[in-house]
């Protein structure tokens, strides 16, 4: 491994965190979960209570109010946390004992610390804005109440995930957000593509969940506990290989949830869900759960170089992979989805750097939550005005008819490409710097990614808001109502100002007790790296300008394109690989098992209808035949069993 870092300064170990019991305002933190959970229950269980009832008329307001109330509680707790000493900021409150067997305890507890506090604010804050936006976006949907019920369910589950003090409770939230995501992707299930996308997301996530489940099992077997804090203490005494195994298993879980290579394929299809869902779940919050898991498990990754490197490689590969896909898509949501993959790749890369990068991973996660939610909602606003057309080749010149959407989207755009002064500039710059300080190749990948990001985001910007009108005939674009633009304005402001979190290293100091702190010295002054990044970004923008603003944009996607574009349009053949490696063999296995089963067993049932009519002769023939088959199976099985036992003994 090539490393540019010559000197490692102040590689401080984690200061020992001792959680303190909750008191005062902190004993009410559980409310942030309970409020949306209760609201979700009311909205979903009331679903059968007749149409056009009061829940149908006011359900969306209840859901939004629940999310806002949850945000207020989170905000109060955060302010109280600010007022505490750094040593007392990890707060735990036991609600009840979930599982107790022998020496093994799982407590339903709230673990509220600096990291969880930031996530609570992000989830409930961005979540509330998206609830408000959805009031406008889903105004005409007949199943609005159910939609808000699912959104509340998601918020509750996501908060369980980040407030869990135990990996098993975290798993509960993990499954919960997976379920909510599944339900919301398939919300418009009358569209076949939506149902298929939901199924795909579900299956790919199961593969990731296997990793998490097995990781938790391994913790239990090794340490006799699954409490996050205690696992962190115990892992220090465990062998290197245990830490590596745990790290890799958790990484598998993280890859599934965060759509990282090789489990990336579901995210692009997940755009079939309503756009607010894409903004909340598939951009700002749920897909970042993998990054959260890695950072939360810092104690494990600190001990395993191999696992950390694996995280870094996954991040680096995905950030280029996603950026590539983002360049080739004409569907505005899919271009943004590719970009999401890519940006999460940045976070993973940062998390793979260890204590030097954890804080920057979280920093980028938060700024990304702002600007990506902003852009997704902006895309939703554009689609709202364009009769739900998602093809950017049918847009153009929208800046005049949708001024608010344009300006807010532009703020997000400037933030994501890392325009100096905007939030993304600070967060991405820090990641690239840390990457260069640790590993030259990781740094190079991150730098290249920044250039590509600038290219494809400029393309989105130009195709959508600039150039000629390429609208369809019956489309009359218009600005969206206030209820949708106000959240856009708030998110745009956050996209611009989110960089303030780095002011006098606030976020790194704040997170230091959770993630540890470490600074790798760069071989060149940081300002040089920053300058190089800005130059690369400028080159990306310029290239896109030349290619898309100076030329006519074809109305349909040209077919005689380079092999790179074609690969990008095909999601870099991720689906083809999955199909060849997993789906076809799986189908083949199921079919052959069912065939074996069907020829002997189902035949009897399928035959029953005929059998009733055929009368006694057929009946007798069928019956004796089948019982004989079964008996032969039992006999054969017994033979195998006896022989196996004897063989084991002889061996």
């Amino acid at each position: 491994m090539t490393s540019l870092s010559s000197v490692v300064l102040a590689a401080s170990e984690h200061a020992e965190v001792v959680p303190v019991a909750a008191d005062g305002v902190f004993s009410w933190v559980w409310l942030v979960v309970a409020i949306p959970a209760v609201s979700a229950a009311i909205l979903l269980i009331g679903d059968g209570a007749g149409d056009h009832g009061p829940l149908d008329r006011f359900g969306h307001l209840l859901g939004t109010a629940a999310s806002i109330a949850s945000f207020v509680v989170g905000l109060v707790a955060f302010i109280a946390l600010l007022g505490r000493d750094a040593a007392e900021r990890a707060i735990t409150q036991d609600l009840w004992t979930w599982i107790q067997v022998g020496g093994f305890d799982v407590t339903m507890s709230v673990y509220y610390d600096q990291l969880a506090a930031l996530f609570v604010l992000l989830i409930t804050g961005v979540g509330s804005l998206i609830h408000v936006y959805s009031i406008g976006y889903m105004a005409d949907d007949p199943r609005k109440r159910r939609f808000f019920g699912f959104l509340n369910l998601f918020v509750a589950a996501m908060l369980v995930l980040v407030l869990a003090g135990d990996y098993l409770v975290l798993f509960l939230g993990w499954e919960g957000v997976g379920l909510a995501s599944y339900l919301l992707i398939g919300f418009w299930q009358e569209k076949r593509s939506a149902a298929v996308a939901a199924k795909k997301a579900f299956i790919v996530n199961r593969v990731g969940d296997l990793g998490l489940a097995l990781g938790i099992m391994l913790m239990f077997a090794q340490f006799g506990t699954t409490n996050i804090h205690e696992v962190g203490l115990n892992v220090a005494n465990a062998s290197q290989s245990v830490a590596t195994a745990l790290g890799l298993l958790l990484l598998l879980g993280a890859c599934g949830k965060s759509a990282q290579v090789p489990l990336q394929s579901w995210l692009l299809d997940a755009m079939e869900g309503p756009t607010p869902v894409s903004a909340l779940i598939h951009a700002a919050t749920m897909v970042t759960a993998g990054v959260y898991l890695v950072v939360r498990s810092a104690a494990i990754y600190d001990l395993s170089e191999v696992a950390r490197t694996a995280v870094m490689i996954v991040g680096a590969v995905t950030l280029l992979f996603g950026a590539w896909i983002g360049c080739a898509k004409d569907d505005i949501k899919k271009a943004l989805a590719g970009s999401t993959m890519s940006q999460i790749g940045y976070m993973m890369l940062a998390a793979g750097l260890g204590p030097a990068g954890y804080a920057f991973a979280i920093f980028h996660l938060i700024t990304h939550g702002f600007f990506k939610a902003n852009m997704f909602l902006g895309a939703g606003s554009v689609m709202h005005g364009m009769n739900d057309d998602v093809d950017m080749r049918h847009y153009g010149a929208l800046r005049k008819v949708m001024p608010v959407t344009f300006v807010t989207f532009a703020m997000g755009y400037l933030a994501i490409i890392g325009f100096p002064g905007f939030s993304g500039f600070f967060s991405k710059d820090k990641i690239i710097e840390s990457a260069f300080a640790t590993n030259f190749w990781a740094g190079l990948a991150a730098l290249l990614g920044a250039g590509v990001t600038a290219f494809y985001m400029t393309r989105v910007m130009i195709l959508t808001f600039f150039g000629e009108k390429r609208w369809r005939d019956d489309v009359h674009p218009h600005e969206s109502p206030k209820i949708m633009t106000v959240p856009l304005i708030v998110l745009a402001a956050l996209s611009v100002g989110g960089g303030a979190l780095l002011f006098s290293s606030w976020i790194t100091d704040w997170l230091a007790p959770v993630t540890g702190e470490e600074h790798h010295e760069l071989p060149v002054p940081a300002i040089v790296i920053t300058a190089i990044i800005v130059l690369v970004v400028a080159a990306g923008v310029a290239l896109a300008y030349v290619l898309f603003a100076r030329r006519e944009v074809p109305d349909t996607a040209p077919q005689n394109v380079s092999v790179f574009t074609r690969a990008g349009r095909a999601d870099l053949y991720g689906d083809a690989v999955n199909e060849a490696l997993f789906m076809r063999p799986g189908q083949y296995l199921t079919r052959s098992l069912v065939y074996v089963d069907g020829s002997g067993i189902d035949g009897a049932v399928n035959g029953t209808a005929e059998l009733v009519g055929d009368g006694a002769r057929g009946l007798r023939r069928l019956q004796t035949g089948f019982v004989r088959t079964y008996a032969a199976e039992i006999f054969g099985g017994s033979l195998v069993l006896v022989l196996a036992l004897l063989a084991v003994n002889l061996a």
Binding site: G48, V101, A604, L611, L619, V627, I634, V642, L646
Partner: protein, 538 residues
């Protein structure tokens, strides 16, 4: 020395003592068998008009009384010292072992029994008649059959039959002697064979199922019996304790032991529906009257697994290294087969049957990773599993009873589309049971799967746990598809009709749902209890 070994000893014609039986300790068993006999008397002497109601009352009151007796026995169970905590011990001259696990199983089976009998007694769904045929002796579709239906004749014999089967199950889980175990196996099986053939609707299918179950059950019993004979040939005793001593001492002729062990395993694996002895399960589950399926899916599995644990952990513990690999193999095949094939099912009852096969595999995972001692043992994890699974499966089949069309229950999954709209509460309950089967957190199924896997991992069977987690993931896919079908799919035609049940079935669904949630959210007391029961006592 047990009575059997006295008979077996060729020399010393000692006087035969009258067996010394502690009637108080085995009172729950005696009550249940007494209730069954009382049921036969009711059948003989009570006028037809009152018979059905009398039978229900006798059965329910009797089972509740037996449950009370079980609690009383449990509180009185003496602790036995030793390396591992245990309570109780052999009674009835060594034929039975009333120890902690046995008494817990009694309680569990009695709970299943009460729930099952309540389902048996449901008469509001099919025009005031029960789910059982009016007169089993009439040919299906004949005029006699129609006449019997018009006269509203009913087979109230199903109640004593069910109670006899329940008595057999309790006996099976308690037997400390291979011969007693065989008798128990037959006592529990014969009434079940019969009841499977008594469905009111689709009688040919039902009779076919009963026939298959009987023939294959008899076939596997023969294996079991032959295994007993071989084991006796090796150990010179039927007593599990004495077999254990013989196995540990390795007295020679191990091939006899291995063959005996394998054949006994076949008999038991048949009862728990493990691959490759599972073939009967889908047909029988589908063909049998649904209340019988519910009762048998929960009860037979629990009794057979406890008996299996007892044989393998007590008698064959010394040969653990010989049987563990085979159990590994069977567990892997069973989990994967059950999970994969359930994906392709289109019939609710068959789907639940394949899921029950997969669950047998999960329990075998717990069996294979042997953990004894204090804390979470394999035994305590499996007892918890059997309870959580049994309750959920009874609840699921109770829901199946309620979804109907003109031809009776409609079990094709396509006809279940849109159930969430028709009857949201019922659909939510069914979803809950499916999620419990899938092992989703906050249901009993999650805790049970977790504890079985945790015990297995601790016992060194981690590859099995990996396969188990993969199999659960596969199965989850199918369960969730059904949930989506219930709530989001457009109904076919008029959609499913949900019959309005009497309080009997409703209370079963409510109790099953409540227990499933409590076992998932607050499993503490029950987990405590299964650890308290301690080990088997020989």
């Amino acid at each position: 020395m047990s009575a059997v070994s006295v008979l077996a000893a060729p020399m010393a014609p000692s006087p035969i003592d009258a067996p010394d039986i502690d009637y108080a300790t085995i009172s729950p068993l005696l009550i249940v068998l007494g209730v069954a006999v009382a049921g036969v008397l009711v059948e003989a002497f009570v006028p037809r008009a009152y018979r059905f109601v009398t039978q229900v009352v006798v059965a329910v009151v009797g089972l509740v009384a037996a449950f009370g007796a079980t609690v009383w026995v449990a509180t009185d169970l003496p602790e036995v010292g030793g390396d591992v905590p245990a309570r109780g011990g052999p009674t009835a001259m060594g034929a039975l072992s009333v120890d902690g696990p046995a008494v817990f199983t009694w309680g569990m089976l009695l709970l299943f029994g009460v729930l099952g009998v309540l389902l048996f007694a449901e008469r509001r769904l099919d025009g005031g008649l029960s789910a059982f045929t009016s007169q089993a002796s009439t040919p299906p579709g004949s005029t006699d059959e129609r006449r019997a239906t018009q006269l509203r004749i009913e087979h109230s014999e199903v109640f004593p039959l069910a109670v006899f089967a329940l008595g057999g199950m309790m006996f099976f889980a308690t037997a400390n002697d291979l011969l007693a175990m065989f008798v128990a196996l037959e006592v529990l099986s014969l009434p079940l064979y019969l009841m499977c053939g008594l469905a009111r609707r689709r009688r040919l299918l039902s009779q076919e199922a009963a026939m298959k179950y009987f023939l294959l059950g008899a076939f596997s019993s023969a294996f079991f019996l032959y295994g007993i004979a071989l084991t006796y040939g090796y150990a010179g005793s039927f007593d599990l304790g004495e077999i254990s001593t013989a196995v540990s001492n390795r007295i020679g002729g191990e091939n006899l032991l291995l063959a005996g062990m394998a054949l006994i395993m076949v008999g038991l694996l048949f009862k728990v529906a493990a691959v490759p002895f599972h073939a009967w399960t889908p047909d029988v589950y589908q063909g049998a009257p649904t209340p019988v399926t519910a009762f048998m899916a929960a009860g037979t599995k629990a009794a057979a697994f406890v008996a299996m644990l007892r044989i393998f952990y007590v008698a064959f513990d010394g040969a653990r290294w010989d049987w563990t690999p085979v159990v590994w193999g069977v567990a892997i095949v069973t989990m994967l087969f059950g999970a994969v094939v359930s994906i392709a099912q289109t019939d609710v009852k068959r789907m639940l049957a394949y899921s029950s096969i997969a669950h047998a595999g999960f329990v075998l995972v717990g069996l294979a990773g042997v953990v004894t001692g204090t804390g979470l043992t394999s035994l305590s994890a499996i007892l918890f599993y059997l309870l959580a699974y049994g309750v959920a499966v009874i609840g699921a089949f109770a829901v199946v009873m309620l979804v109907r069309d003109a031809g009776g229950e409609t079990t094709h999954l396509g006809r279940w589309a849109g159930l969430g709209k028709e009857s949201p509460l019922l659909a939510i309950a069914f979803t809950l049971f499916l999620l419990s089967f899938a092992g989703i957190p906050l249901t009993g199924g999650f805790i049970s799967k977790w504890s079985v896997f945790a015990a297995a991992w601790e016992g060194g069977a981690w590859p099995l746990v990996v396969v188990g987690v993969v199999a659960s993931a596969i199965a989850l896919f199918f369960y969730v598809r059904v949930v989506v079908l219930l709530f989001f799919a457009a109904p076919q035609g008029d959609g499913p009709t949900v019959a309005v049940p009497s309080p009997l079935t409703s209370s079963v669904v409510v109790v099953a749902a409540a227990v499933t949630i409590v076992l998932g959210v607050l499993p503490g007391p029950v987990l405590e209890l299964v650890q308290q029961v301690g080990a088997f006592v020989r």
